[in-house]
Symmetry: D2
C-alpha cells in the first residue's frame, strides 16, 4: 500500500514504466487556483530524460494530460488527475531481466513482495519514471506556495568528491533558488560544473555511474508550521524524500555535523533584528525546532546513490535456475541521477510543506 500520501493536499500516484500510462490524482487543491501550465511543463522537462549529454539519450515526451479538476484554467476543487502516456516503451526481450536479479535494483525484493506478479519490465512500478507524476504534483504545490511567498529550490551538493558551496543565511535568496531551474547542473559555484562533468564522463566511459548529494531550501515559510512528534516537518518531508528512488540519507540544517556540536553552538540563539522580526544567529536546526518551523530557512540535504543500471559486468543470481551468474545491463542509462532528481526533490518538498500548511 503505497499509492497515496497526504492529509489535506493528498497525492495518489499510479503507473508502471511499461504499462499504458503513469499519472497522479491530487485531492485537496483549493478551488479557484490559476495554474500556469508553462511552469508545469518547465518542471516536467527538468526531470525528463534526454535533456543533456550527461543524461540518457532516451527521449520521452512527458506531457501531462489533465483529465479532471480544471475548468476555465482554474482548479475546481475536485480531484485533479493528470496522465502521462508511456510512448517510448520498446517491446524488447525482458526474459533475462525476469530471471537475473539486477543488483541495486528492486527486482529481487519486488519479486518477493509481489510473489512474482509484478511487472518487471523496465523496473515497472519501481521505475524512476514514476517520479514524473510527483514532479507534476509538486509543480502545482509550488505555484500555490509561491502565491504565499514561499520559494523552493535545490542545487547539487556534491558529485562524488566535487563539492558545491552550501546555502547559508548569507547567500540564500528567492532569486538564487529560482535560478537553479535554469541549469542541468545547478550550482552556487558555477565554476564546479566542469569538474562535475568530467567526473560523470569518466564513470560513464568506464561503464559505471556516480552518486552525489542534493541540497534543498524552502524560503519564506512562516514560523508555526508543522507539529510535535509524528507529523514534524522533518517526519513529513523525510517520508516523501525517501519515497524518491536512490535517496539513502537525509539531514536537516547541520544534520550529522550537529552530532559534533555542544548545545551552546547548536542552540541557534534568537534575536530581534532591526525590523523587530525574530531571527536566529545561526541555522544549525535548518529552520525547524520541535518539528515546527521557526521562521528561518528550511534546509536539508539528501544522499543520492549512483544509478544501478551499468554496463560493467556484475555478479548476481539467476532466481529461476538458482545459480550464481554474471550480468551486463545494456541500454540507454543515466551515468548520474542527481541532476534529474533535483526537480523531484523540490517537488516532494513542496508537496509536504503545502500539506502541512493546509492541515494546520
Amino acid at each position: 500500500m503505497s499509492a497515496t500520501f497526504g492529509t489535506s493536499f493528498k497525492v495518489t500516484i499510479f503507473g508502471e514504466s511499461h504499462g499504458k500510462a503513469i499519472g497522479v490524482t491530487i485531492d485537496g487543491i483549493p478551488p479557484g487556483v490559476s495554474i500556469d501550465m508553462d511552469k508545469v511543463s518547465f518542471e516536467m522537462k527538468r526531470r525528463a530524460p534526454g535533456q543533456s549529454k550527461l543524461s540518457t539519450p532516451r527521449k520521452e515526451n512527458d506531457i501531462p494530460d489533465i483529465l479532471s479538476g480544471m475548468f476555465d484554467g482554474k482548479t475546481t476543487g475536485a480531484p485533479l488527475t493528470a496522465v502521462i502516456h508511456n510512448t517510448n516503451t520498446k517491446s524488447k526481450d525482458y526474459s533475462e531481466m525476469k530471471k537475473k536479479m539486477r543488483p541495486g535494483q528492486a527486482d529481487y525484493p519486488a519479486r518477493m513482495r509481489y510473489e512474482g506478479f509484478n511487472d518487471y519490465r523496465g523496473s515497472g512500478k519501481f521505475s524512476g519514471r514514476i517520479t514524473a507524476p510527483l514532479v507534476f504534483a509538486g509543480s502545482i504545490a509550488k505555484q500555490v506556495l509561491e502565491s504565499s511567498g514561499i520559494t523552493i529550490g535545490a542545487h547539487i551538493g556534491s558529485v562524488m568528491d566535487v563539492q558545491d558551496e552550501r546555502l547559508t543565511l548569507d547567500n540564500a535568496t528567492p532569486e538564487l533558488l529560482k535560478s537553479f531551474g535554469e541549469y542541468h547542473l545547478p550550482l552556487i559555484d558555477r565554476s564546479k560544473a566542469k569538474d562535475i562533468e568530467s567526473v560523470i564522463e569518466t564513470a560513464r566511459d568506464a561503464g559505471d555511474s556516480v552518486g552525489g548529494t542534493i541540497e534543498c531550501m524552502a524560503l519564506g515559510l512562516p514560523a508555526g508550521i508543522g507539529n510535535p512528534f509524528f507529523n514534524s516537518i522533518e517526519s513529513v518531508l523525510s517520508h516523501l524524500l525517501f519515497a524518491v528512488p536512490a535517496v539513502k540519507g537525509i539531514e536537516f540544517g547541520s544534520g550529522f555535523d550537529i552530532a559534533n556540536m555542544h548545545a551552546s553552538e547548536a542552540n541557534d540563539a534568537y534575536y530581534y533584528n532591526e525590523d523587530g522580526n525574530v531571527k536566529t544567529k545561526t541555522n544549525h536546526n535548518g529552520g525547524i525546532t520541535g518539528g515546527i518551523s521557526n521562521g528561518m530557512p528550511v534546509v536539508f540535504r539528501v544522499a543520492v546513490k549512483a544509478p544501478s543500471s551499468i554496463t560493467k559486468t556484475q555478479d548476481t543470481i539467476n532466481i529461476e535456475s538458482g545459480e550464481n551468474v554474471t550480468l551486463e545491463v545494456h541500454g540507454r542509462h543515466d551515468p548520474i541521477i542527481v541532476p534529474r532528481a533535483i526537480p523531484v526533490i523540490e517537488a516532494v518538498c513542496a508537496i509536504g510543506i503545502l500539506d502541512l500548511m493546509q492541515t494546520r
Copy 2:
C-alpha cells in the same frame, strides 16, 4: 495533528510533561499475544532519567498503568492503553519560561503554532518525556517481532569525536544486539566508554551538553517487506525517527557515504550462499532496495543533537517585552541525550517495522 501514526499497528500518544499523565493507545495488536511485563519495564527503565551519573539526577517512576486491551496476561485485540502518571512535576515558577524563548527548544515555534495556549511548563507537549509512551509501544512491538525471529538493537555510533565501531555483516548477531540493553553506554568496542564519559563530564562541568549518533539494526527481517514510493521502509522509519526530539539526520546503509560510490561498488551484488539462501556481498543499501527489504540486515544511523537545556548563559528574546535578553536555564538537565534516546530509537524502529509487516 500529530497524535496518531500507523496503518495496522496504530499508535496514538498523548500527554504533556506537567499535566496529570502521559500515555499511549495501541490499536491493531493481534489478539492472544502474551506480553512479558518485565521486558516492558526493562525498556522503560533504559529510557527513564536518573539511571546513571551521566544522566539527570531527576528520578521518575515511569510505571505504565495498563487500562485496557489486556485480559489474563494476553492482548484482547481491543485497543491497549497505557498511562504513565506525572509524579515529579515541581510546581515551580515557570513565568520566565513563558517569556524567554529557550534557544534550541520548541518554545517559540510552539507559541506561534498554538497561538500562545500551549502548556509551556517543562516543554509541555514537546518534552522528551513523551518518548516514554513510545518506548512502551515499542516494547510491545519488539515482543511481537521477536516471536517472528526479528531482533532490534542500537548502540552509540559516536559521542562528539569519539566513534564506536560499526555494525557489519561480520559482527552483527542477535546476541550482540540484545546485549546493548544491558549498558547505559552500549558500545561494540567497550574500551571507548571511558573516553565518552570523559567527553560528557567535561561538557557538563562547563555548563554545556554534547551530541552524538546512534546506530540501529533490525536483524532477521525477511525479504519482501515494505513498499515502493510512499511507504518505503525508509519513509516509514524516517517518519517515526524524526518524531523523536533532537534527531536531525538519518542515513540507511552507507548513507551519505554512498554518494561517493560508483554503482559498481554501491550495487550490493547478490549471491547464493552455501545453504542456497540469497545474500548480498556488501550491505551499502542497509537491507533495503526499492523501499523493500532484501533479506539483509536493516541498518541506519541517526544524528542526535546536544540537549538544549544548559546552564551556560545564552542570548535570546523576551517575546513579551520584545527585547533581546540573556538566559540561564537552571535545573536538573541531561548533559547528553544519546544513551536515553537509544531505547527510543529501537522502539520506533520496532513500531515501524511491525506496522509494515502487518499491512502487507
Copy 3:
C-alpha cells in the same frame, strides 16, 4: 481496527467494560477553547445509568479525568485525553457467559473475530459503556459548534408503536433542541411520556425490553459543508451513528418516505425569503444535497433495537460443548436503551459535523 475516527477532529476511543478504565483521546481541537466542564458533566449524566426508574438501577460515577490537553481551563492544541474509571465492576462469575453465546449480543462474532481472546466480561469492548467516551468527545465538539451558532438536539421519535411528533421547519428552534436535554424522555409532545413509560414497564415486567427511534437535528449549519461522494455528510454521520451499539437503520430528511415521492415533490424548491436568504420550501433532503449542506436544518432518524439482555428464557448455543441450550440473563438491565442513547446520538452527530467543518 476501529479505535480512531476523523480527519481533523480525530477521536480515539479505548477501554473494555470490566478493565481498569475506558477513555478517549481527541486530536485536533483548536488551541485556546474554553471548556465548560459543567456542560460536559451534564451530558455525561444524561447517558449514565441509574438516572431514572426506567433505566438500570446500576449506578456508575462517570466522571471524566482529563489527563492532557487542557491548561488554565483552555485547550492547549495538544491531544486531549480523558479517562473514566470502571468502579462498579462486580467480580462475579462470568464462566457461563464465556460459553453461552447471548443472542443479539456480540459474544459469538467477537469470539470469532478475536479468536477467543476478547475480554468477554460484561460485553468487554462491545459494551454500551464505551459510548461514555463518545459523549465526552461530543460534549467538547458541541461546545465548539455552539460558538459557531450550531445547535444539536435529539428526542424520542418513537417507542414501539408510540410516536412523538417530528421536528419540522415550523417547530424546530435552538431552544427546543436544547430543552431536550432536561428530560429523561425528551419529547416534542410531552403528553406521550406516560404512554411510553407504560410500554417500557410492561415489557420490563415481562422480562423483556423494547426498541424505538431517535430523531436528531443540527440547526444553524451554513451551506457548503460536506463533500460529494466518499465524505458526504450522510456518509460521515452514518459511519459514526452505526458505530453506536443497537443502531440498525438511518434515514436523512424524509428518508424511506422519499422513495415514494415523485421528484416534483422530493426536489425541495429553493426560494429567497424576505431577508434575501436562500431557503427551501420543504426539507425532504434533510438539509443535505449532493452530500453537502444546503443551509436548511440537518435532520435524521435512527432505529434503535431493544437492549439484548433480558431475563426471559432464550434459545442459544454452548460454544464449548457444541450443544443447543437455553439461557437466562440475570442482572441489572435496561428495559430500553433509547433515552440513554439520545445524548450519544447527539454526541456523534457533533463529532462528525465538527470534523467536516474543520477539514473543509
Copy 4:
C-alpha cells in the same frame, strides 16, 4: 476531501461529467488475481445509460481503459488505474445552469462549497456518472470475493408503492443473487415488472420521475468480519452507500421495523444446525451483531430518491440576479434511477466488504 476511501482495498475516484475523463485508482488489490474483463464489462453495462426504454436514451460507451496494475491478464500488486473517457458531452449552452439552481441537485451547495469554481456542466463532480468508476472497482472486488465464496446481489425493493418480495433465509441463494444481473428490473417476483414499468412510464409522461428502494445481500460472508464501534460493517457499508447519489436512507436486517420489536423477538436466537454449523433462527440483525458478521446473510435496504432532473416546471432561485424564478430542465433524463443504481449498490457493498476482510 472525498476522493479516497478504504484502508487496505483503497479506492480513489476522480473526474467530472464534462471533463476529459473519469476514473478510479485501486490500491491494495493482491498480486496475481486474474481479472475477467467480460465480467467487468457486464457490470459496467448494467449501470450505463441507454440500456432500456425506461432509462435515458443517452448512450455512453463506458469502456474502461486500464492504464496500470495489470500484466499478462493478472493484477501486479501495483495501483490499478482505469479511465473512462467522456465521449458524449454535448457542448451545449450551460449558462442557465450556472445561474438557476436546480432543486434536488448539488448546484447550490456545490457553489457554496467551491466558491463558484466547480465545473457546473452536467453536475460536474456531482454527476451520477461518477458512479461508473465505482462499478468498475466493485466488479474487481466482486471477483476477489467470489473466489472466497461470497456472492453479492441486489434487486428492486420497491418502486413507489409497488413492492417486490424480500430476500429471506428461505429464498436467498447464490444463484438467485447472480440472476438479478440479467434483468434491467431485477425482481424476486417477476410478475411485478409490468406494474413497475407502468408507474415509471406514467411519471415520465407527466414530466416527472419516481423513487424506490433497493435490497442487497452478501451471501457467504464468514463470521468474524468487521469491528466494534468505528469500523463496524454497518459503518463502513453505510459510509460507502451514502456516497452513492440519491441514497437517503439505509437499514440493515429488519432495520426500522426492529424499533417495534421486543428483544425476545429481535435477538435472533442461535442454534447448531444438523451439520454442526452455527445459525440463527431469524435474521433481524441482517447478519451483523456488534458490528461484526455472525455468519448469516448480510442484508440491507436503501432508499433512493427520484432523479432530480425533470421537465416539469419548478420554482427556484437565480443566484446571480438574486430573484425567485421558475425552471424547466430539458434533456435526456432518467425517469427512475433505481435500476441503474442497483449495480452501484452491489459495487460499493463489495468494495466495503473486501476492505474489511483485507484489514482484519
